[in-house]
Structure formats: C-alpha cells, structure tokens
C-alpha cells in the first residue's frame, strides 16, 4: 500500500475515529462527507471499544499478503454505539466464535508489505 493511503486512514485505523451526524445522530465509520440523511454537519466521535459479533467466518484461502496468518477469523462486529465493522478476531480458535459473543477492539499489525515495505497497523478484535 502506498504510504499516503495508509497514513490518511490512521485516525480510523489507530483510534477508531468516526463521525456523528448532527442532524440524525447516525455514527459513520469511516467518517463521511455527506450523511445518508443528506446532512453535512458532523461531530467527531469514536467507535465503542466493545461490541458484539453479528456474523463470522474463518478465511482459509487468503490473499498473498495474509497467507502467513491463515487460517484467520473475520467477523462483522456491531460496536456498542451501533457502528458495524469488519474485523479480524484474533487469539482464539474458529470454534470459539459465535453470533452474539462480545469482543473488544485491540491494536495489532494487519500485514507487512514484504520485508522492506511499511508495516500496516490497525484495529482487530479479541473475545472478552
């Protein structure tokens, strides 16, 4: 990944920064310029640190950059403030996952760009 693209997303990837529409109150992650309701005024907020698994899978055939991590778990998590996020769920076996289980977000390495490129960090989830 070219480093400007990585750098630009840091507030979301590192700190789960989101935007809340001042009109309808919906929290957008990542932040948007226009809300689904049409309004354009937002205030900065964050995705809750904990959430619930809405659906999950285990990726066994991975893109090249993720092959070393396979098999790895992916879930759609609904954070406590309603935001839905696709995230890896790590430090657990596939059998430990279930719809409705609680998770919390942690800071992890997502993948490395080969031996010489940048190291991509961001959020993942672990079971609580």
């Amino acid at each position: 990944m070219p480093s400007p693209r990585y750098w630009r997303e840091m507030p979301q990837r590192y700190r789960l920064e989101a935007s809340q529409c001042t009109e309808c109150g919906k929290v957008s992650f990542p932040p948007r310029i226009v809300c689904g309701c049409g309004a354009r005024d937002f205030k900065k907020t964050n995705v809750s640190e904990t959430g619930t698994i809405v659906s999950y899978t285990t990726i066994r055939v991975a893109p090249d950059a993720f092959v070393i991590q396979a098999p790895y778990n992916i879930a759609i998590v609904e954070a406590d403030n309603g935001v839905r996020i696709t995230t890896q769920v790590v430090d657990c076996a596939p059998e430990e996952l279930a719809i409705g289980k609680k998770v919390k977000f942690v800071f992890r390495k997502l993948y490395e760009e080969g031996h010489c490129g940048i190291i991509n960090y961001g959020y993942k989830a672990v079971l609580v």
Partner: protein
C-alpha cells in the same frame, strides 16, 4: 425508445484456457456472435471486464478488442462494475440501440484469470479496500458472512446450500462449454476443503478464463433474420453499500431486489411469469439469497426451495440451467453476457439436453461485489 432484440450470441468454453490470450478469447466469442447474427458490420462495442489490469496487466481493452476484431475505428469502451461488468456492458449497449443512435452493437465480456495473478486479492478489490480488504477479507469470506447470517436468521442449512452446487453441477454436466461439467453429491460438497467457513471449495465458483458476446439490434432488423426473435423487454440496475457490514440486514441483497423490481416493471412481468433464470451463484448462498430477492420464493425460504428441487431443470422455476457460475465457470467480466447466451439459447429452443420445456420469458441476473451492484435483464421470445 426502440424495441431491442438479441440477434447473435457466442462464447468460448470456460476454463483454464492456457494457450489463449485475453484478446484471443474475446475475439473468439465475438466472431461466434457475429457469425450467429449474420451481420457484417458493428456500430459500436462495450466490453465488460472487471480487472484485466490486475489479471494480465492490460487496461484500455475497448480499443484493443476493436482492433483485434478487425473493426479498429468503431466506438469501443470497457465497462467495469466488478463481477457484473458483463451485465452492465449489456445494459449500456441496450440503451445505445434503444435510443436510436446505433443499429448494431456488440456487447461482450471477458476475463483472463489464470495468468498467474493473485486472484484472491484481485477479486477482493471489488470490496471496500480500506475497511474490508485491509483486514484480510476475501470474497468467499464475505459470502460466508452472509451464509452464517442467513443460517442464523432463517435456519438455512449447509445441506440446503450444498443443494445449489449439486443442482448447478448437474446442469453443467449437460453443457459442453462448462469448466467443470460433472456431477457432485451433497456429501462431496460438504466434505470438500473449507475455503471460508462454512463454505467449501465446491460452494465457490472457480477461477476461469472465458469470454462471451451478444449482438443487439432494433426489433425491425431482428425480424428480417431467420432466427427466432428474442426481445430485451426489461433492464434494471441498482446498487447497495460497497461494504457488507454497512447493510442493515446481511441476508438482504437490496440491489438485487431493486434491480429486479425495476426490470420487471419495465417488462410488465411478475416473478411468476418467468420461465427460467440465470442468476449470479458466485457462492452457494448467493443463489439462495437471489431466488428470494427475485421473488421466486419468500424471504428466508430459498434454502428449502432449492433443496426441494423447485429450481431444478424440471422444477417450478429452473435456475442456472447453464450450470451457473459454479459449474460453467466464472470469468468474472464474461459472466453477465454468458448468462444472456444461455437465456437466448433456451428461448430459441436450442439448449439441447438442458432445454427447458417451451420457455417464454427468461431473466439474467448479474451481480458485483458482495451484492453492491446488480443488473437484471428480462428476455421474451417474440
């Protein structure tokens, strides 16, 4: 708008076409369609292709294909909408003919996926790069998330999903152009290697090379030809959030529903009027969701509906008589046009062993990403 008909179809065999290049397979399919239509001139061309840049390092394939087809001066462009690039190319061509601007338009689709690229990554670029792919999401993974949600919400079983693959492989076994023209059993599907739990290898469409083309013309021209006249009576397209997680309900493919409603409305038909459908079974669960969204069965009942045989060749509403993406193969950009080829063949009564009895109306539903784009076309035998 003028009424539009499909006057010619052609496609390559789908599969691992090691000896043929991207341009070779497109030209092969285009020539077959031109020969089928018996036309000597094409006014313009739309080429559906998802990512020839990532697969073979070639962009700008509209001009490339026009050149190699021996029509180097015609307007030609590539249409991209992930896996429904072909269906969207068809839609673009349909409007060009319907508008009266051009009489004969070639609409095609092509993908060359077996030339050594990181296919899993290339396909994943159709998902949200920053908020899905960054986490290591793959397409089997996204549909597995849909599958688990569908199983949780409606009690859909792995056996019901496997029934999609079993049916489509049966149909594909009757199609000489299919990549995997062989029967599979429910047990084989369930016991195959897991790709993204709970989906196994035999629930995922394969990595394919292939091309398909169709020739569109106004009804007046079509009627002068000797072939049965197959009219395009409806087109509908819609989009949904690119990221699966952003949808209110993971089991609802809203773009499919909206595109179908739009196409049905234009065509003046209801789901019960449809004789057969080619749908985007990129994964087993996708077909289950799609038959629900197309209105063939109520929401949540797609699993039992399939398992009970209602979508089989001799069922209430035969779905994917060609073998679908699963058995026929899924060269992504070509798929939407290949679906049209099957519907036209069926409506012409020329589908051989796969022939559905006396079909009147057929639909083709082509989808991109995890359902963020969908396009539906309705065809009617004149």
């Amino acid at each position: 708008m003028r009424e539009v008909a499909v006057i010619g179809i052609g496609m390559t065999k789908f599969g691992e076409l090691w000896t043929k290049s991207l341009r070779d397979i497109f030209v092969e399919a285009a020539m077959a369609a031109i020969d089928d239509a018996k036309v000597d001139q094409i006014g313009s061309m739309y080429v559906g292709s998802m990512t020839p840049g990532l697969f073979v390092g070639q962009e700008h394939i509209g001009a490339l294909m026009a050149d190699y087809l021996g029509t180097p001066s015609i307007p030609a462009m590539r249409v991209e909408s992930a896996c429904c690039s072909g269906g969207m190319a068809f839609r673009a061509g349909f409007f060009e003919v319907a508008s009266g601007h051009t009489d004969v338009v070639l609409v095609g689709g092509v993908e060359k996926m077996n030339d050594g690229a990181d296919v899993t990554y290339a396909l994943a670029t159709a998902a949200d790069q920053e908020y899905e792919v960054y986490q290591g999401v793959t397409f089997p993974g996204l549909y597995a998330l849909i599958a688990r949600a569908h199983m949780h919400a409606y009690g859909t079983t792995r056996e019901q999903m496997a029934a999609v693959s079993v049916k489509n492989h049966h149909n594909g076994s009757l199609n000489e152009r299919a990549q995997f023209p062989r029967e599979v059993t429910v047990e084989q599907v369930l016991n195959a290697t897991l790709v993204a739990d709970p989906l196994t290898m035999l629930e995922c469409s394969p990595v394919s090379d292939g091309a398909a083309c169709a020739i569109l013309a106004p009804l007046a021209i079509a009627k002068k030809l000797s072939m049965p006249v197959i009219k395009v009576i409806g087109t509908g397209a819609a989009t949904d959030t690119l990221a699966l997680h952003a949808r209110e309900d993971l089991t609802t493919l809203k773009a499919v529903k909206l595109s179908a409603q739009s196409a049905y409305k234009m065509a003046g038909v209801k789901p019960t009027d449809v004789s057969l459908a080619e749908v985007h079974d990129c994964f087993s669960i996708a077909e289950i969701c799609i038959v629900e969204e197309l209105g063939f069965v109520e929401k949540g009942k797609g699993g039992p509906f399939t398992e009970q045989g209602h979508t089989a060749l001799d069922g209430k509403i035969p779905v994917n008589t060609s073998g679908g993406l699963k058995s026929k193969g899924h060269p992504v950009g070509a798929t939407g046009i290949a679906q049209v080829c099957e519907i036209v063949e069926q409506l012409r009564g020329a589908a051989g062993k796969r022939q559905v009895k006396d079909p009147k109306i057929g639909i083709a539903q082509n989808m991109g990403g995890s359902g963020a784009s969908s396009v539906v076309h309705v065809f009617k035998k004149e």
